[in-house]
């Protein structure tokens, strides 16, 4: 044990995905002393886009242009969906608070108020989402107006082909040219990575040489689409400088994870929360939790052995699903990994997944998870809160299918908000 002193906090947040980050932010903003523990988290797999509510019913592939109307319909049809646990005003307030925080840390998001927008992906599909990083936003507008455009890909960058995107877009946005360039200073490499390029473009000399490589291809184009490489930090500066040098607006086309927009989101949270004085155990897990009387929990934190013991008056469990490690499945059952809370799930494994991957109904396993009551406290086997001061948020919750409903970020942000609010009401 590196520290025999037990540290005491108001609340311990388990998880470092979007729900964990958002819970920590909301707790810190309300003056709670907070400690956060988490592994890498699903956030590095994030596209950087913040969905609110996109598709319902999934079997009908109904895409909502107004996410709030989508939530109304969803809550009506699936009263157990986590969105039903809090008023829309709270969801709205949660987004405002989070977007403000991100902006303060230098990561601006844009949206068309109360409207979902379409983002062009690297496969040439259109992703419906709500809040879009400013580096991607001009692409959203271009996708509506369809000016003559140029899509650039980069020699050695796998899985991103401008011609593929333009081909898939030929009906939607026909006036697209494509070109391939070598990234300056990396032309000797057989393979290049978006993170390296995003780092390189923070330097103004690199930007000049990059712009030189793009310029000859501009011709009639009024806008230029690129892989997501417009700076890992200082993106406003990178974008405006590049636009000056190239002579046309630029936008990023998000691609496979780990992606630069996802990385920016993770870094923005870590930077911004550190500034708020949050104690953060990164790459650590909760090994054991003991309940001490009714007042507080004691948690052993470490990687494989206990490195720190902390005490907290409450816990927000935002440990994610299977990727995040909050849920685990053996051949027979799905279990919650820290408290062994009951997990709502299909009767047996034959029903977890459908035989067709793209079955429009979605896979039942995705709706498995923790059941909660209106205070976001997970339920025990008798349908009562398992612990008086244990709350849950994010993708670990049951009765949602964020991948199909396109509500992942909203779910994380809204339920984090709800959990923190309930913690304050019940524990302060």
């Amino acid at each position: 044990m590196s520290d025999s002193q037990t540290i005491k906090f108001d609340v311990c947040i388990i998880g470092s995905g979007l729900a964990g980050m958002a819970s920590t932010l909301f707790a810190a903003n309300r003056g709670l002393s907070s400690v956060q523990v988490g592994l890498t988290g699903e956030i590095i797999l994030s596209s950087g886009l913040l969905d609110l509510m996109g598709v319902h019913p999934v079997s009908e592939k109904h895409v909502w242009s107004d996410p709030w109307a989508g939530i109304d319909a969803l809550v009506r049809d699936i009263p157990d969906h986590p969105y039903a646990r809090l008023p829309k005003e709270d969801i709205h307030a949660a987004f405002e608070e989070l977007l403000f925080f991100l902006k303060e840390t230098g990561l601006s998001y844009y949206r068309r108020m109360n409207h979902n927008v379409g983002v062009l992906t690297s496969l040439g599909t259109i992703k419906h989402t709500y809040c879009v990083p400013h580096t991607i936003w001009k692409g959203v507008e271009a996708l509506k107006k369809k000016p003559p455009g140029l899509l650039i890909d980069i020699r050695g960058l796998k899985g991103f082909n401008a011609r593929q995107i333009a081909t898939a877009m030929q009906n939607e946005w026909p006036d697209l040219q494509t070109a391939r360039i070598s990234f300056p200073g990396m032309d000797h490499l057989s393979e290049v990575y978006t993170e390296h390029m995003a780092n390189a473009l923070i330097l103004s000399q690199k930007r000049e040489r990059f712009a030189e490589a793009v310029r000859p291809h501009i011709e009639e184009a009024q806008i230029v689409g690129l892989p997501a490489i417009l700076g890992l930090y200082r993106t406003h500066e990178v974008v405006s400088d590049l636009e000056k040098l190239i002579g046309a607006p630029v936008f990023e086309i998000p691609s496979m994870p780990p992606s630069v927009p996802g990385l920016r989101l993770k870094e923005a949270f870590e930077r911004g929360l550190r500034a708020k004085g949050i104690k953060y155990f990164s790459q650590k897990r909760v090994l054991k939790v003991r309940r001490k009387a009714d007042d507080f929990f004691e948690l052993d934190i470490g990687w494989s052995t206990t490195e720190q013991v902390v005490q907290s008056r409450g816990i927000i469990l935002a440990s994610g699903r299977f990727i995040g490690g909050g849920l685990h499945a053996d051949r027979k059952r799905i279990k919650e990994t820290i408290f062994d809370l009951p997990v709502y799930q299909p009767e047996n494994r034959t029903e977890w997944h459908r035989r067709e991957f793209l079955d429009s109904r979605g896979h039942p396993v995705n709706r498995a998870g923790l059941e909660i009551e209106d205070t976001f406290r997970p339920l025990d086997r008798n349908g009562r809160p398992a612990f008086s001061r244990l709350f849950a948020a994010g993708s670990i919750l049951a009765h949602q299918d964020w991948k199909r409903m396109k509500c992942g970020a909203g779910l994380a942000i809204a339920t984090a908000f709800g959990a923190v609010k309930s913690f304050i009401r019940l524990c302060q």
């Binding site: 040439g124 599909t125 496979m256 499945a329 494994r349 035989r355 991957f357 429009s360």
Partner: protein, 528 residues
């Protein structure tokens, strides 16, 4: 001298003339094509889907020592021994000579165990008794409840490589391969098939083959195809499902020494092991997929032999149909002879039509030889079969199917500008290039599925999540996709990989599936 196939336009239709039409591109069909080509007989091979789409591509890849059949079917046992010995000489590049063990655990039939060595010697099958301790030193994962172990000459064989090499040589000698080509019907007169109507299942285009002899080598589909010609075959469909592990569990083939049952064999191949197999009678050929129940039953049984199988990572499952020719009254499909049936349809009133079905991968060459002998007699061709002695050539296109080979080659040498497209299995861009070129040479249309068939793409832990995107992006570099195909092809590819993952989705593979869906549905929206 081989003659090349001639294409002529006849009354507005594509008519292909050939000596022999072979229907079915599995191990037997491709084996027959090579056998005949080596005798100077020119063939057209029509395959409904792609090479080894049926049971030839959905088995363990086991080269039987014959030990499995010594108690139930000594004829098959001897055939297996002879053919396996022969293939090890003529096709060593398709075979990993792993050796095999037969093991029994507490509770297994001791008489069956005791009879085994004697029965093996009756069939001249080399067998060596091992001490339990010795066996567990050879294969440390074996159960501590082992009661007996015997060493035999089992090996693993790569069925894709085998069929690819067979068809490649046949094509070099002038034969034609038609993939994605379905038999629509036969036109008969004077007790002979005069023309076979074919249809390309992708383009819908119809064509006609006029052949002197027609061979039906369609495995489980033999009854269906024979029916089109007005002939009949009594065939039983026995589905066998198999499970692939993420990493190799044993060095040798490990058989359970008991009367044949589910999950009684683990066959290594390159970097993976394959656990098999179930035997479930099915009524129609649309039911050929592995189920969760089968997977659970297999794992549950196999752990008695190798307890570690309870916790190892399985990355996918697949199923094939054993075409068993015989009476429908047999109570256990495993007791029906695995020996093959060569059916001369003269009795059905079709004199130039032959079906070959049943059998097993180990005896594919013998099946091809016997079929070719019959057809050559009818054609008046006197050149003898040479596949017993002529080595199977080693050509490039077939080499990327072997698990674990690509990483070895990559580490040994790669061109500086080459990159890895499939990171799980380390398949480089240059391999994809070579495969696309070879598909083109075979007049095929390269797409994700046909590339996956010929390589390890999509077969590693990610099951296509990332390599599917990377390879399809790369296809655009080569200009191989037309606009309509772009997303359809990726959807189909992922759907196909899903069918195999579906019954293995727990623990790490479930995490993988979640990632797959997060990316392809959550982000790309492929389901919309």
């Amino acid at each position: 001298m081989a003659r090349t196939s001639g294409l002529r336009i006849y009354e507005g239709e594509n008519v292909l003339n050939t000596q022999v039409l072979i229907i079915g591109g599995g191990a037997t069909g491709t084996g027959i094509a090579r056998d005949l080509a080596l005798r100077g007989v020119q063939c057209v091979l029509a395959e409904y889907h792609d090479i080894n789409a049926g049971a030839s591509g959905a088995n363990h890849g086991l080269l039987h020592s014959g030990g499995r059949y010594v108690s139930s079917d000594q004829g098959s046992a001897v055939e297996c021994r002879q053919e396996a010995e022969l293939l090890k000489k003529v096709a060593p590049h398709c075979i990993e000579d792993t050796g095999g063990l037969f093991v029994a655990v507490e509770g297994d039939d001791e008489k069956f165990v005791a009879d085994f060595p004697h029965l093996c010697s009756q069939c001249d099958i080399p067998v060596q008794a091992l001490g339990v301790k010795e066996a567990r030193e050879l294969e440390p994962v074996l159960s501590d409840k082992l009661i007996a172990a015997y060493k035999v000459a089992d090996a693993s064989i790569d069925p894709f490589k085998l069929s690819m090499e067979n068809i490649s040589q046949a094509q070099e000698l002038g034969s034609t391969l038609l993939r994605f080509t379905k038999v629509v019907g036969f036109e008969k007169s004077d007790k002979k098939i005069r023309a076979t109507r074919l249809q390309n299942i992708i383009t819908g285009e119809e064509s006609i083959v006029e052949a002197e002899q027609v061979i039906n080598a369609t495995g489980a589909w033999a009854g269906v195809v024979a029916g089109l010609a007005g002939a009949s075959i009594d065939i039983i469909y026995s589905k066998g499902s198999l499970l692939v592990t993420h990493s190799r569990i044993t060095e040798r083939v490990v058989n359970r020494l008991h009367p044949s049952a589910s999950a009684d064999i683990l066959v290594p191949g390159g970097t993976v092991s394959i656990l098999g197999t179930t035997s479930i009678r099915i009524d129609n050929l649309d039911q050929v997929y592995p189920t969760v129940e089968e997977v659970d039953a297999m794992v549950g049984e196999a752990v008695k032999m190798i307890p570690a199988l309870e916790t190892v990572r399985f990355i996918r499952a697949y199923a094939g149909v054993r075409p068993l020719i015989g009476s429908r009254s047999a109570s256990d499909d495993r007791s029906v002879s695995r020996s093959f049936a060569l059916i001369d349809h003269s009795e059905d009133g079709v004199e130039n039509f032959t079906s070959i079905s049943g059998g097993k991968l180990t005896t594919y060459r013998l099946m091809a030889e016997k079929t070719a002998d019959l057809v050559c007699r009818r054609l008046g061709v006197s050149r003898p079969c040479v596949t017993r002695t002529d080595p199977l050539p080693f050509t490039q296109p077939a080499k990327w199917t072997q698990p674990g080979l690509a990483p070895k080659l990559w580490l040994k040498h790669h061109e500086p500008e080459d990159i890895i497209l499939c990171e799980c299995e380390m398949v480089p861009r240059s391999a994809v290039d070579a495969i696309i070129d070879s598909i083109r040479e075979q007049n095929g249309q390269p797409n994700l599925m046909s590339i996956a068939l010929r390589s390890r793409i999509g077969k590693g832990a990610c099951q296509g999540t990332f390599c599917g995107v990377r390879v399809s992006a790369y296809m655009y570099d080569r200009g191989e996709f037309n606009p309509e195909q772009s997303l359809t092809n990726l959807r189909e590819f992922l759907g196909q990989r899903w069918k195999g993952q579906h019954p293995t989705l727990w623990n790490k593979q479930l995490v993988q599936a979640e990632l797959l869906e997060a990316l392809h549905c959550g982000f790309f929206g492929l389901e919309l």
